[in-house]
């Protein structure tokens, strides 16, 4: 009883926070209080006021505008990295489930292996060879998503393929692609949506960490991670500057995680036992 109520609350709060994130990012394309990268040295480190809701940073840039525009990178990285994970992960997972044998074994071994290289580590490797930038961050984070989605797809696909209706479809001579489209994909969709939501949250965290280290979004592209690293330089003068972007990251991630949990409960009660 309380579990259901909590699931409903998660879904509601998570959806609200995630929607707010999307709307803020969309808003940034048409309007921000100031141009986010506009430097205004005379008004640097201004306290929050009606003119500058969250004050200004060490270069006099409007913090509110940067926060609004910073949502863009987070969403861009999240969407593309999760997209990479879904496209390659679902494909690999389906191949593994349909082909079995050596193919399945080697794909799963490779997936285990990729776990040893978390997004941040791959990003550091890529950056040190190709130079820093959002693209490397996306590739690294996306690559880290692939094995997670692949494993989930394979496990769910295997259990679907073992059921009578899938066996019947095989017996009726339906090809693997048709079976995947008719039977497997609709069945794994709820689990994929849940996992994608959670990977989205993880991607936002990873992007923030990379940008904080200077390996992700480059100036003048506003990003929450970079704002934190800028804020650290003036920590003694204006600690508040380190609060806002971190809170923005935490709320976005919290929202997506809650949305994922809530969706899990709403879409498929059987999934609740996992995680």
């Amino acid at each position: 009883m309380s579990g259901f109520a909590r699931g409903g609350f998660s879904l509601w709060l998570g959806a609200t926070l995630a929607a707010a994130l999307l709307m803020i990012a969309a808003l940034s394309f048409v309007w921000t209080p100031y141009p986010p990268a506009a430097i205004d040295i005379p008004h640097k480190l201004a306290q929050p006021s009606l003119a500058h809701w969250f004050g200004t940073d060490s270069l006099g840039r409007d913090v509110a505008s940067q926060l609004i525009a910073g949502a863009r990178v987070s969403i861009l990285v999240g969407v593309v990295a999760v997209g990479i994970g879904l496209v390659f992960g679902v494909a690999l997972g389906l191949v593994a489930a349909f082909r079995k044998g050596v193919v399945e074994d080697s794909i799963m071994k490779a997936c285990d292996f990729v776990f040893a290289f978390p997004a941040l580590l791959s990003a550091i490797m890529l950056t040190s060879t190709f130079g820093p930038g959002v693209v490397n961050a996306i590739v690294a984070i996306g690559a880290a998503n692939v094995p997670i989605i692949a494993k989930l797809t394979r496990a769910t696909a295997n259990s679907v393929l073992a059921r009578e209706y899938a066996l019947a479809a095989r017996a009726a001579g339906r090809g693997p692609l048709a079976i995947a489209a008719d039977h497997v994909l609709p069945n794994i969709l709820p689990a994929l949506i849940v996992q994608a939501t959670i990977q989205f949250a993880i991607a936002i965290l990873a992007e923030a960490a990379l940008s904080y280290l200077g390996l992700g979004a480059q100036p003048p592209q506003p990003s929450w991670g970079r704002m934190l690293s800028d804020a650290q330089n003036v920590l003694y003068n204006a600690p508040r500057l380190a609060i806002y972007p971190g809170a923005a990251i935490a709320l976005s991630v919290l929202g997506l995680n809650l949305l994922g949990d809530g969706l899990r409960d709403a879409l498929d009660p059987r999934l609740r036992a996992r995680s």
Binding site: S2, G3, R6, F113, F115, A116, F117, P118, A119, L120, L121, I124, M125, L126, T127, S128, T129, F130, A201, L205, A208, A209, Y212, L213, G214, L215, L228, A231, Q232, L235, Y236, P239, A242, I243, P245, G246, I249, A250, L251, V253, L254, N257, L258, D261, A273, S275
Partner: protein, 315 residues
Amino acid sequence: MALYLLQRLAVFVATLVIASAIVFAVMEILPGDAAETLLGPTATPEAVAALGHKLGLDLPLYVRYGRWIAGLARGDFGVSYAYGSPIAPLIGASLAISLPLAAMAMALSAAMALAAGVYAAGRRGRAGDAVVIGLTQVGLAVPNFWLAILMVIVFAVWLRLVPAGGFPGWADPARAFGALILPAVALGVVQAAILTRVTRSALIEALDEDYMRTARAKGVSRRAALWRHALPNALAPVLTIMGLQFANLIAGAIVVENVFVLPGLGRLMLQSISNRDTLVVEDCVMLIAILVIGLNFVVDVACAAIDPRLRSRSA
């Protein structure tokens, strides 16, 4: 068990070989000529060729890979392009910070997760459980480097209890240890959130098993049944996740070291990236891969030590 160990060891070595090949490929084959990168676009082709020869870049790939691996095995990590000094001592000094930091964070998160997980599982569905779950949600959402910065604000900027960062060196163990506490907490709390959830759900699963009822039918108390019968059964999944999370912990350590200006592996790598000192980065990445793969090997063995079914399955 001996057969099982041999099997795992073979997998461990094979994984290391593949990992080294990937690292080598990404770091040395893809980027083109390291000498050209080092000298910049204004260098003459002759200078590039000379430096390339000096660095051994004109040798065939398999020779370079063989030399690199043989060097690693001997503890010879090569010479830093940027500093012109051997890399092994550089890495050694940074490991002296990063390894204790990782170990402290790991121990902290394990202790927190065990306590919170046992507490929540014992109160499944009640208020205490909901509070723990809520806290883990927060823990999962807070970036560890932001938590680190927040702690610097509280303890260094406001309370002025500790310096904002830096490392005094191990000559003074107490102060060195003290300098690692805040970073370890920042790293450990986030890990603890993940591990708490795993511990809780693994324990809940174990508590529902028939053997728990058997234990109670023998006269074992609820508490003793939880510790003696349920917890060992929950331990294997928790250990496995801990092993998998170790890579993330190291990655997190790289970022958190940066917040506290600790001269660990993370700082070394970031500096080397800006110095275009590829070999140092390559060695560090490989070292991390060895640590991660090695720890997962240990976890595999530990799980088999706990669960007799794992030992017999592979034999």
